[in-house]
């Protein structure tokens, strides 16, 4: 079943700098989509299209070897951003009424 849940092809902004990678493998631990894999003590992208750009890998890389333009994959967030003129983010603040199941 999981294999069917794939989003658009060739859109992901994930980038690696293998020179900086120390092979600590923390990124492979935090990735919830099995995108990354350690090969010969360096990180490798094995499932690029499965990346959801959550930013867990880049946030937890102490060596700046991974970068990704992270954000919420949520259309409602984009609509809110257009209306309020802000950045697209979940309407999940304490006072904001979240109108979708965003979170």
């Amino acid at each position: 079943m999981g294999c069917r849940l794939n989003y658009l092809k060739n859109v992901v902004s994930l980038k690696l700098n293998r020179e900086k990678c120390t092979g600590c493998a923390l990124c492979t631990d935090v990735c919830p989509r099995g995108v990354l894999h350690i090969q010969n003590h360096k990180v490798e992208i094995i499932n690029r299209d499965r990346c959801i750009e959550c930013g867990a890998c880049s946030t937890n890389c102490a060596f700046n070897a991974i970068s990704v333009k992270s954000g919420v994959g949520c259309a409602q967030a984009f609509i809110n951003a257009i209306i309020t003129g802000g950045e697209p983010e979940c309407g999940c603040s304490k006072n904001g009424r979240s109108s979708s199941g965003c979170c």
Binding site: L5, Y7, L8, K9, V12, C31, I52, A62, G101, C102
Partner: protein, 356 residues
Amino acid sequence: MTSLDCNKPETKSCGCSSGSGKKMLIPAIPPVDKWGHIKCRISDKFRMNYAVEPGLYSIGNPGESSPVLVTANYRLACDHLRKAMEKSSAWVLVIDTKGINVWCAAGKGTFGTSELINRINCTKLDTIVKHRSLILPQLGAPGVSAHKVTKATGFSISYGPILANDIPAYLEAGKEATADMRTIKFPLRDRMILTPIEFFAALRKYVWLILGLMVFMGIESSGILIKPAFVNSWPLIISGLISVITGSVLFPVLLPFIPFRSFALKGMILGIIVIIPSLLFYDKIYYGNPFLASASILFNITLISFIALNFTGSTPFTNISGVKREMKFSVPVYISMCIISSILLIIFKLQKWGVV
């Protein structure tokens, strides 16, 4: 950069303000609240306020070498953790995410590095446990830089499994999670559990649409009349309601089985399948009027596709780049379809008035 920010409720709950010599009283995490779970699956408002006070809690009888599990102050998260750890003892460090779940709060940064550092300091965790390691939920990782927390507090971070239920197995294996525990899934049960929230959110907006439609249908040369408002609106109200149910309930359930990867396209396919058969009752539903029929069909397919596109935010496999691309092609299509639909509806109205 962030100074210690022990806000009022926190100071009260962790009781760490004074008397370092005294033994601290650490509360047990509150019991599981089943009725609350149901309510927060239905009401956004309830869910948003379904919070636990941030601070340090206990499960069972933890000692100075027991593991420290970190979670959000979302009540459902604490409940899951409590249930999973029923037979064990652990500390639970509940950090302030404004009552939002781990995954969303991490995305927003409230389940984040600075709040975690702040909460470790506030609760004087270093005086309670001897070891210097924390276990964080894997889905909290987008908000937390493990190395920064370690640098600031001395506590090292291990990311546990995605699901709380897997924590005992993870601990037993010496803090090793299997690839399966680390991969997010979106089974039917998870998709279904989201549908009430999706449905009520869509319905609330739909009510306004109905009111607008009834006013439009009721406009006669002699003013807004109640009878035509009802008679001419009800077929559209019913088909619209079917669209709301299709988009918010049927779409999530069928998600993996609808062709194409784009949610907007998936929604359009499902919309066509559900709405086109209404033509079988062309005379009854649309009074045999081609303008009313095409206006309604166009609008309903758009509505289903739009609700489907909004579901991107509720799934764990979409990404911001993809949604951006989808919006780029779908929003102009939606707007044009709505305009065409409105024009057709106006023509229908003018026909009724005998103008056309």
